[in-house]
């Protein structure tokens, strides 16, 4: 039998916004389903105070053949309201969702954005004490998102407890008071969202060598990061880089003891955490030897054609031991920079390209 969760023990206080983070298959959704009484735990106890909104996904139970009014009624009752209470809140629900004109429309004629807005609105109006949410914060357009953000703050102020499951670190850092990282069904880290975020990114980085967690802390007993920065051709440090110029990255490290060898790598990720590019090199001397003595310093310089579109970028640095013996050091956001300039292209990068259009006479048709 698969053991999806093991030794998970944590407290969430009333009024807290608590994040649960983990990679796919880490057990975070199973945990949420246990909290929501959708699954039954084989062992252990869960205790909860107050009324729970027993939904882990928005819009569940919506029937496309029914009108919004009927669906709101059904959904409200599923949330634990009485039919009378739900009817009383119907106006507030459709008003928040900005769907006043569409109350009598069957849901099959709704767009997906409208559906989510309606579902989100029902959840807010259901007035549950505890809300469980599985990655739904990014709903609707920017204006509606702002409205949702405000609503969440109101919920928090009103003493509501929210448990959010996501793999979107930015959401966790933006909303959560505390967070928990789970991996392989057990708690990796619990506490400050920023710290959990760092652990999570590390976890993603070291996917190839997950056996060694000790060495991935910033500054291990093997190697220490002295600095990482972007510089111009004269060696002056930069924080802004123009699109289309050369991007010069410099990383300096110090060996803390005698080592058989090291590989140094970096990756550039955009503000959404998407890795754009990575590269690395095995450290060797002019004579080809790779051994390093304690106290020796290593400088790695990379020169990258800056095809990145304007935006903020982060540089993560990693140091591997020789012969694939795992990660010796990982530093999340060792440095960051902003790209400006460039053409009017969307996307992450502007790739060198040629494009042409021709018009041919239509005589052949």
């Amino acid at each position: 039998m698969l053991r999806a969760l093991d030794g998970i023990s944590f407290d969430v206080r009333q009024g807290e916004f608590f994040g649960i983070v983990g990679r796919n298959g880490s057990g975070k959704s199973t945990l949420l389903k246990l909290l929501a009484s959708i699954y039954r735990a084989d062992a252990g106890t869960i205790r909860m105070a107050g009324r729970l909104a027993p939904f882990i996904e928005l819009g569940v139970g919506f029937n496309p053949d029914l009108t919004a009014r009927e669906n709101v009624l059904l959904n409200g009752v599923m949330m634990g309201l009485t039919p009378r209470e739900t009817r009383a809140r119907l106006d507030a629900v459709v008003e928040f969702a900005e769907l006043d004109e569409f109350v009598e429309l069957k849901l099959k004629n709704y767009s997906s954005g409208m559906l989510i807005r309606l579902a989100f609105s029902v959840m807010l109006q259901a007035d549950a004490d505890v809300l469980l949410i599985d990655e739904v914060l990014a709903v609707g357009d920017a204006a509606f998102q702002q409205k949702c953000a405000d609503a969440f703050h109101d919920l928090k102020a009103g003493g509501k407890t929210i448990v959010l499951v996501t793999h979107e670190m930015t959401t966790v850092e933006e909303y959560c008071d505390r967070a928990m990282l789970i991996d392989d069904g057990s708690i990796q880290h619990i506490g400050d969202p920023a710290a959990v975020g760092r652990h999570y990114l590390q976890l993603n980085f070291e996917r190839g060598s997950p056996e060694d967690h000790e060495a991935t802390r910033e500054g291990s007993d093997e190697v220490r990061l002295l600095g990482a920065w972007i510089e111009d051709a004269d060696g002056a440090r930069l924080t802004n880089v123009e699109h289309g110029t050369k991007l010069r990255l410099r990383v300096e490290l110090e060996a803390m003891r005698d080592l058989p060898g090291l590989g140094v790598g970096f990756s550039i990720a955009n503000a959404d955490g998407i890795a754009v590019f990575d590269s690395g090199i095995t450290v060797s001397r002019g004579d080809g030897s790779t051994e390093l003595a304690a106290g020796e310093r290593i400088a790695v310089s990379a020169e990258v054609e800056n095809l990145l579109n304007p935006g903020r970028y982060f540089v993560h640095c990693g140091v591997n031991r020789a012969q694939g013996a795992g990660v010796a050091l990982y530093v999340n956001s060792a440095t960051d920079f902003v790209v400006f300039g460039g053409g009017p292209h969307s996307g992450i990068v502007s790739l060198p390209h040629e494009i042409e259009a021709t018009v041919e006479s239509g005589e052949s048709r």
């Binding site: 959708i38 699954y39 039954r40 205790r47 729970l52 139970g61 009752v77 009485t82």
Partner: protein
């Protein structure tokens, strides 16, 4: 933060999913709402609306009446045959329609089962309740027909609701059992189509029971709880002197015990299996 926050109550243990989880009030609210919306959806979505719920059994009635009075001549020997036939069809439609719809109900509501804490028992029961709404409408037509046929009301008509209640409870039990078995054994759907046909013929709907003439077969038939209910309905509604009561058909009141045992057994098994499987339905789906 905590000084502004009002405590929402004591910590209670979360027991996980169950057949009726989430409180009795929510259970009945959901059951009622689900049944009513499903009923409305079925009949408001069609051109003739509620009329369809009447036409289906009436069509069957017309065809069978023709076959069994003009072709096989069974019916023409019995004065009240059309009344008996219509009553039987409408009663059996409640059972067959509800159970047939219930088989796939839990699986087709996969979304709510896997994504919300939904009292599982509501789902099969809602299909029974929806069919019961149809049944009530049909019943109006049946009684108009019975009176028009010239059957005089007697005090035993007052017993009819008890027979309906017995049938309703049995239908709920069978529906619940089938819906949860179907989650793990998809063959149930096919088996049940055949089995409900068998049950239809093992119930004195098309033929009056005394026509069998062999008391052993009559006794065998009276093991079927639905047959017992139908026979009693016939006695209570039509008040025919020739019609044997269920006890008489079984060969004595004691011989009704097997039917009672089947009835209670099915109900008990249904409760047991649903309770056992309800917490795991979301995982088995």
């Amino acid at each position: 933060m905590s000084d502004r926050v009002r405590a929402v109550g004591p910590l209670r243990e979360v027991h996980g999913p169950s057949a009726v989880g989430g409180g009795a009030r929510r259970f009945f609210d959901l059951l009622w709402l689900l049944s009513v919306t499903e009923f409305k959806r079925t009949y408001f979505g069609t051109v003739l609306g509620y009329v369809w719920s009447l036409i289906r059994p009436l069509m069957l009635f017309g065809v069978l009446l023709f076959v069994f009075t003009k072709v096989f001549k069974i019916g023409s020997e019995l004065p009240n045959y059309p009344v008996l036939l219509l009553l039987g069809i409408v009663l059996f439609t409640l059972f067959s329609e509800a159970t047939q719809n219930a088989v796939t109900s839990v699986v087709s509501q996969e979304g709510v089962v896997r994504k919300t804490q939904f009292p599982r028992l509501v789902i099969p029961l809602a299909t029974v309740l929806t069919s019961s709404f149809n049944f009530c409408l049909n019943l109006i037509v049946v009684f108009v027909f019975i009176l028009a046929w010239g059957v005089d009301p007697t005090w035993t008509w007052l017993l009819f609701p008890f027979a309906v209640l017995a049938l309703f409870v049995f239908t709920c039990a069978v529906s619940t059992m089938l819906s949860v078995l179907y989650v793990r054994f998809r063959d149930v759907a096919i088996i049940w189509v055949v089995l409900s046909q068998v049950l239809f013929y093992a119930t004195p709907v098309l033929y009056p029971i005394e026509l069998l003439e062999d008391p052993r077969i009559e006794q065998l038939l009276m093991v079927n709880p639905i047959a017992v209910i139908f026979e009693q309905v016939r006695v209570w509604i039509l008040a025919e002197p020739a019609a044997p009561t269920a006890a008489a058909a079984a060969g004595g009141a004691l011989h009704l015990l097997p039917a009672v045992a089947v009835y209670v057994g099915v109900c008990a098994f249904s409760v047991w299996i649903f309770n056992r499987d309800a917490p795991r339905i979301a995982e088995d789906l």
